[in-house]
């Protein structure tokens, strides 16, 4: 650092030179850092462009309707494939995951921020973060070899009491179904939903809570009247981030689900598929055009996750502005 300070003494020429190199260094550094920012944007654009190019060539060879065909037959010529089953499976399993995960995750976030004894709160937050670090393939292995055999009882029970809805009809067999996927995805997205909501709950102004307490509110009333209203948009965006994860999950679904190309009316029976699972399952046997068909389905997945994540981020950003909270 000294070398930089010395040239700024009274002698003119070294000072000029120093300023010159400083500016040059600044220019290079600014160029590098701005360049990598632009590179990130370019990558996002390139993902969209390249996938679209391949997808267009695949769809032009599709002899079914890309949006409504159930089949995924890319080995025969002409190819007949459509994303109807995949879209259904992806959306249904993600919705099940959200229905299970969001209430639990919000509960855990409240537990950490408002309910747990201090000594418990930090380790719990830590454990939840570790849960997020477990690789998805390990969840998949655990789901397939441990969760699936342990769910038959529950499914039998659901069938006994809710079987008449047709939605929860269960015929014997390994329950490698969309509902199982939903449960597994829920376990996988709980950490992210929890950590984002926890951050929001922590920002609730202390004054609001104290005011409620001073009026004699119970702890639950404090949560309901000051914490949840403040954190609502935070919870929404947290759930959407979780939804983004659930939509794109590949390996856990590929290991657990037993896929088929029809829409099974019951959630508990095996069958169906998701975008990501279909790509992973078919990739090895796919030749050129079949690969393009998979890329086309990947593009749909990319667009969906992009919209969901973008919306979540916009909600977070807007909230930041009006609450005045940093970070």
């Amino acid at each position: 650092m000294k070398t930089d300070i010395e040239p700024t003494s009274s002698t003119a020429p070294p000072q000029d030179r120093a300023r010159g190199t400083g500016r040059l260094g600044d220019k290079i550094f600014l160029g590098l850092s701005r360049g990598s920012g632009i590179l990130l944007l370019a990558i996002m654009a390139a993902i969209a462009v390249f996938l679209t190019i391949r997808a267009i060539s695949a769809i032009s060879e599709d002899h079914g309707n890309f949006l409504t065909t159930f089949e995924w037959n890319t080995t025969s010529r002409p190819m007949v494939f459509g994303i109807a089953v995949l879209a259904y499976g992806t959306i249904v399993s993600s919705i099940i995951a959200m229905l299970i995960a969001v209430p639990i995750a919000v509960g855990i976030a409240l537990f950490i921020s408002h309910y747990a004894p201090r000594r418990l709160a930090t380790p719990v937050a830590y454990v939840i973060d570790l849960l997020a670090a477990v690789p998805s393939i390990v969840y998949g292995l655990w789901g397939a070899l441990f969760l699936v055999p342990h769910l038959t009882g529950l499914y039998q029970w659901l069938d006994d009491y809710l079987g008449w809805t047709k939605l929860f009809e269960y015929n014997d067999g390994a329950p490698r179904s969309l509902f199982t996927i939903g449960i597994l995805l829920a376990i996988m997205i709980i950490p992210i939903v929890t950590s984002v909501s926890r951050e929001v709950f922590r920002q609730v102004p202390q004054m609001h809570e104290e005011a409620a307490l001073a009026l004699g509110a119970t702890r639950w009333e404090v949560v309901r009247m000051s914490v949840l209203p403040f954190g609502r948009s935070g919870i929404i965006s947290a759930s959407m981030l979780g939804l983004g994860r659930a939509l794109g999950e590949t390996m856990a679904v590929a290991t657990v689900l037993s896929p088929s190309y029809d829409i099974v009316p019951s959630l508990l029976d095996p069958g169906g598929g998701t975008f990501a699972q279909n790509i992973a399952a078919h990739f090895k046997e796919a030749d050129g055009p079949a690969r393009d068909a998979l890329i086309a389905s990947g593009l749909v997945l990319f667009v969906i996750t992009l919209l969901v994540n973008g919306a979540a981020r916009l909600i977070i950003a807007r909230r930041k502005e009006y609450s005045g909270a940093a970070a």
């Binding site: 650092m1 500016r23 600044d26 509960g107 690789p135 393939i137 390990v138 119970t218 790509i279 990947g298």
Partner: protein
């Protein structure tokens, strides 16, 4: 907290004021109720001949919530009952989240330790009959280390520079766009990143499957994570430090390199390590781009490799007991690797936490 306040007023007052204090359940009530309902849950489970232990637990939880609600409503009034209901529901949420984690870790350690030994870590699957015990994950460990190493070498500098741009230079539209798309990029599914490299590198540029192709996809997944965490850390550096340095006539780029970065280095390293832990477990891009190999391939730039997550998937697909054992063992190695990275990263974060002067 409200109750504590009431207690105090009661102590301070001279005359006993019973109206201020509602009858309350004793402090041990929740624990007692939990034990009772756990017992009842097991009892119903045994009596009703329910095979699944999960059901036992769920019945016990439901009983606990119901009994404590009813009892509190009777003794303490409905507002307190609602409070207690919420409290127990929130505790149930917490327990529900802990159960899968404990089960997952336990299963992995229990089943993984069967075949995990020096032989497993030191040998590949070359020439091993897949239905027989034997073989190992050496090739997969090599693959993971090389791919993750290359991905880090690509993503860490780019991520770091982008974060510096956003915090130190970024004003205006470009910075806003970068911030937004970095956030969105965090949500790009790993399989889509894999497909992108597939179209770009393998289909259009016509390269072959290799560890490097997988590493590029991993780098795409890693960049936004590094940017986010580094950005947070750089924002924590007090502005006074920058101003002091600039006031001494130090050019901005040297200020960043010599003052800002060293102050935040602990957090930056933590962020990079967490990102490494995150991508080490990614298998989807590896399936698409590295293609899996049974033998040892030390060269990430040519030919198929393997990686730990891919190895787990491959062994699971083989579908026999010997391969399941190998899958669990590899899963155990993977979890251990990720967890150690996590713990180290957090240790560094605590050790080198920037003093923000607050």
């Amino acid at each position: 907290m409200s109750n504590a306040v009431i207690d105090k007023t009661e102590l301070a007052g001279d005359a006993p004021r019973p109206a201020l204090r509602q009858p309350r359940l004793p402090k041990w009530a929740p624990i007692g109720l939990a034990l009772i309902s756990a017992g009842l849950g097991c009892g119903i489970g045994v009596a009703g001949d329910l095979s699944s232990k999960v059901q036992w637990g769920l019945i016990a939880a439901a009983l606990f919530v119901l009994i404590s609600f009813a009892l509190t409503a009777k003794v303490e009034g409905s507002r307190q009952a609602k409070d207690r209901l919420a409290t127990s529901l929130i505790w149930v949420c917490f327990l529900l989240a802990v159960i899968p984690l404990v089960s997952l870790i336990w299963e992995t350690i229990d089943r993984g330790s069967k075949v995990l030994d020096g032989y497993f870590l030191g040998h590949s699957m070359e020439g091993v009959q897949t239905i027989l015990p034997g073989g190992g994950a050496y090739h997969a460990i090599i693959g993971t280390l090389e791919q993750v190493g290359i991905a880090t070498a690509i993503a860490a500098p780019i991520g770091l520079l982008t974060a510096i741009y956003l915090v130190e230079y970024g004003r205006g539209r470009l910075a806003k766009a970068v911030t937004f798309f970095v956030d969105v990029m965090t949500g790009v599914p790993s399989i889509v990143a894999g497909l992108f490299i597939l179209t770009f590198w393998i289909i259009i540029l016509d390269f072959d499957y290799s560890g490097f192709a997988g590493a590029m996809a991993l780098a795409i997944l890693m960049m936004p994570i590094v940017v986010r965490s580094t950005e947070e850390m750089l924002k924590l550096v007090p502005n006074e430090l920058r101003e002091a340095s600039l006031a001494l006539g130090v050019p901005k780029w040297r200020t960043i390199l010599k003052v800002v970065l060293p102050t935040a280095i602990g957090g930056i390293i933590t962020g990079v390590m967490l990102a490494v832990a995150r991508i080490a477990g990614e298998s989807a891009p590896i399936v698409l781009l590295v293609f899996g190999a049974q033998g040892i391939n030390n060269n990430p730039f040519e030919g198929a490799q393997s990686s730990l997550p891919y190895y787990v998937y491959e062994q699971w697909q083989l579908g026999n007991d010997a391969s399941f054992n190998r899958a669990w063992a590899a899963a155990l190695v993977l979890i251990a690797f990720v967890m150690i990275l996590n713990l180290l990263a957090r240790g560094i974060a605590r050790w080198k936490a920037p003093k923000t002067g607050r």
